[in-house]
């Protein structure tokens, strides 16, 4: 009898204690769920910035996922100007582990890695030996600069793989920029009224060397 009497307040105290703890825990869990990051801004900005950096129309690329060399010397102002998504955020760009740009300290932010190629464009100038008024470029290129100095011959048409790229009925003379396909080896043919003298054509072509690289974009908002 005395034992049961002594237990009743203890039970009450235990119940009060347990209910208070449970209530507190539910409140804590509610706060945790309410404040959880359902829209991770770090990752979104990093993702968007990396997408823009490798997009074909970006100022940093030659084509999709092929970066120009200038990305290695990108300034913070240029980054903000071209990619406003990252304005005011801590950011770090790494190419193959070497930091090429950083602002603030984005440690703890989200990192997105992209597989890219780094393109280095060279220019090679040569005076081709013409075989039947035609020549084949030794390497693939997207652009050719032609300098035509036909002494007494008249060059009316220049064809690249049979396609007319330059034409002037009164004769071509001077420097011309010609776009050609970088997907095939280019054979330039010159339609003239008489064989061209050696040295009357000088051409510059722009082969690109690409090396693979990993671009890591880290952003902390």
């Amino acid at each position: 009898m005395t034992r049961a009497q002594a237990n009743l307040p203890a039970l009450a105290v235990a119940l009060v204690l347990l209910t208070a703890t449970a209530g507190l825990s539910v409140a804590l869990a509610d706060a945790a769920f309410a404040s959880v990051d359902r829209d991770p801004a770090d990752r979104r900005v990093a993702d968007t910035l990396s997408d823009r950096l490798v997009a074909p129309e970006s100022p940093t690329t030659r084509r999709a996922n092929v970066l120009r060399e200038r990305v290695l010397s990108l300034s913070r102002a240029a980054l903000d100007r071209s990619f406003p998504v990252v304005r005011g955020h801590a950011v770090r760009l790494e190419v193959d582990g070497a930091t090429v740009l950083d602002r603030g300290d984005p440690t703890g932010g989200a990192t997105v890695r992209r597989v890219v190629l780094l393109a280095r464009q060279q220019s090679v100038t040569l005076v081709p030996t013409l075989d039947r008024n035609a020549t084949t470029l030794p390497r693939r290129t997207g652009r050719v600069t032609l300098t035509l100095r036909p002494a007494n011959a008249t060059v009316r048409t220049v064809r690249a793989n049979g396609r007319v790229v330059l034409h002037d009925p009164s004769g071509l003379n001077g420097t011309y920029d010609v776009r050609v396909s970088r997907f095939e080896t280019v054979r330039l043919a010159f339609a003239t009224d008489r064989p061209l003298a050696p040295g009357s054509v000088e051409l510059t072509y722009y082969p690109t060397r690409t090396t693979k690289a990993t671009l890591a974009v880290t952003v902390d908002v």
Partner: protein, 144 residues
């Protein structure tokens, strides 16, 4: 025997502490659950998204490469016929291997065969497909 005697004499105290012990255990259990919320909720798994990005980048890079001999692009050349696939497979595999980061394994499927590794079961795989004039080419990557 003497212990039993002490137990009987302190019977009331023993009964009281049992309730408190029960309540204490209950509080500890509830707090243990609550602690799970007090620390950060688990971060979303971003490895899958990164794998998809790698696969997308790999097909983008490959699709933009000029062919070694003839064809629209390098991928189209590989996917063109069984002969071109056999001729190009070693060079193509080396190319894919070079392009992807070292911590990735890959498999590239073309209409005339596949290059790369056998895909293991039960790992996260990033996949991307690109359409060429000769058919679809699919790249799958996973962490080594």
């Amino acid at each position: 025997m003497s212990e039993t005697g002490r137990g009987i004499r302190g019977q009331g105290r023993g009964q009281l502490s049992l309730s408190v012990v029960e309540a204490g255990i209950g509080v500890v259990l509830v707090l243990a659950v609550a602690m799970g919320f007090a620390y950060d909720l688990p971060a979303p798994d971003t490895r899958d998204a990164q794998l998809e990005t790698y696969a997308e980048d790999a097909v983008t890079v490959l699709a933009g490469e000029p062919p070694r001999h003839r064809g629209a692009t390098r991928l189209a050349e590989v996917a063109r016929s069984p002969e071109t696939f056999d001729r190009e497979r070693d060079a193509f595999e080396r190319r894919v291997d070079r392009i992807l980061p070292d911590n990735l394994l890959y498999r590239v499927e073309t209409p005339h065969g596949a290059v790369g590794f056998r895909e293991p079961a039960g790992v996260a795989v990033g996949e991307a497909t690109v359409t060429t004039v000769e058919g679809d080419v699919t790249v799958r990557v996973w962490y080594a």
